[in-house]
């Protein structure tokens, strides 16, 4: 259940950013999560609901961008779609490959709400 740790890390980063920006609340957050990143979407959603309670993210709208895996064969340089970490190169069959995309775990952006002076 590392998803809860991940959610708590997100809360911590966002609270710090929101405080720095003088925000009253955070209305939206967008995450880039790689499909090869060990984040299980159902477990993440469950952890999200509990992890954001009483935080600046409590009322925020969550947008998840799931990024497909892409590998580059270390033998023949072929770029290929990687659904599992053990997918071999479709051209030469080698398991020696580099993961180019799909391991992301990033906070892309947040939308903060600021109180107007007037």
């Amino acid at each position: 259940m590392h998803e809860l740790s991940i959610v708590l890390n997100i809360v911590e980063i966002v609270e710090k950013e929101a405080f720095k920006a003088g925000a009253e609340s955070v209305s939206a957050i967008e995450l880039d999560i790689g499909k090869l990143s060990t984040i299980e979407p159902a477990a993440f959603e469950f952890a999200w609901k509990h992890g954001i309670r009483d935080s600046v993210l409590e009322m925020s709208q969550l947008k998840m961008n799931y990024i497909s895996g892409r590998g580059k064969c270390s033998e023949c340089d072929t770029l290929f779609e990687m659904n599992e970490l053990y997918d071999p190169c479709p051209e030469c069959g080698s398991f020696f490959s580099e993961i180019m995309e799909g391991k992301e775990m990033n906070i892309k952006s947040i939308r903060i709400e600021e109180r107007l002076e007037t």
Partner: protein, 286 residues
């Protein structure tokens, strides 16, 4: 309060042992040091701010607030990565070889340590960080071999992180040019994501677990440098094919080094010990 991170009170606990009385076991004699592993560092990565205002969002608040988008592009485990780099730098400067042992519960991590610490006692200096959700049972077992150990109790946490290890290293004060074993919480998924600042990550699998495990839990095999296949003395009694396990693990990580051992009979431990000696002297010399 921790000066590095400002942590106060919360879940993970480091149970300090009285190092001058290594053989007095009782889990009650340790001093409890409680701290919050949800830290509040102030390391900032550069990020862009978009100052274009939108008044179309959040209808309920649009009369007294305005929205602003902040583009962060920030790694969620950024803080852990910073602390891991800090641990790595400290250990590197002291010539300490740090090995993170990861596996499912019951694969024999603690017994492997007991054997290793006892057998190489004359040659190498060791210390051990034990990670478990509860109890000091494992640290007590390690201390019975005469090795300094600290126990981290993660409470409900399913893995160690770089912050817990930073505090444990502070308490343990491992000697220069020694070997520091970090026995992670028994879990084949979560610990794979958390760099602790180790030099080597070693995944342990026992023959009672099934040779298809690397395919079921690929991340741990992807992020490890070596794989120990333990309890090979039980091979006659279980349907486990070592070659199949190696083949499956190599599909995920073709660079893995394998050791086939039995901590009960001692079979195969020599090659593990040779590897340890080699890694340790490699670090000292360079």
């Amino acid at each position: 309060m921790c000066i590095t991170c400002g942590c106060g009170t919360d879940s993970a606990q480091i149970v300090k042992k009285d190092r001058h009385h290594k053989h007095s076991h009782g889990s009650q004699n340790g001093e409890l040091h409680s701290h919050d592993h949800h830290h509040h560092h102030d390391h900032e990565a550069p990020h862009g701010h978009d100052h274009s205002h939108s008044h179309t969002q959040n209808e309920t608040r649009q009369h007294n607030t305005e929205s602003r988008m902040i583009h962060l592009e920030k790694d969620i485990l950024h803080e852990n990565a910073l602390l891991a780099a800090r641990n790595r730098g400290y250990l590197d400067a002291k010539g300490i070889l740090a090995i993170n042992l990861v596996s499912s519960p019951g694969s024999g991590k603690t017994m492997l340590l007991e054997r290793t610490l006892t057998d190489l006692n004359e040659e190498l200096m060791f210390s051990v960080i034990e990670g478990d959700q509860q109890t000091t049972v494992d640290a007590d077992r390690i201390e019975a071999t005469g090795t300094n150990a600290v126990q981290i109790n993660t409470g409900k946490g399913c893995h160690l992180d770089a912050h817990m290890v930073m505090h444990a290293i502070r308490d343990l004060k491992p000697a220069e040019e020694s070997v520091l074993f970090i026995e992670n919480v028994g879990n084949l998924v979560c610990p794979s994501m958390f760099d602790l600042g180790e030099n080597e990550r070693v995944v342990i699998i026992s023959v009672t677990e099934g040779d298809d495990k690397p395919l079921k839990y690929p991340d741990m095999f992807l992020t490890s440098e070596s794989c120990i296949i333990n309890k090979i003395d039980l091979l006659p009694y279980v349907p486990f094919d070592c070659d199949k396990l190696i083949e499956n693990a190599k599909k995920i990580n073709p660079n893995l080094t394998f050791f086939q051992v039995s901590c009960t009979t001692g079979e195969g431990l020599d090659s593990w010990y040779d590897w340890l000696r080699e890694c340790s002297s490699g670090l000292k010399n360079g």
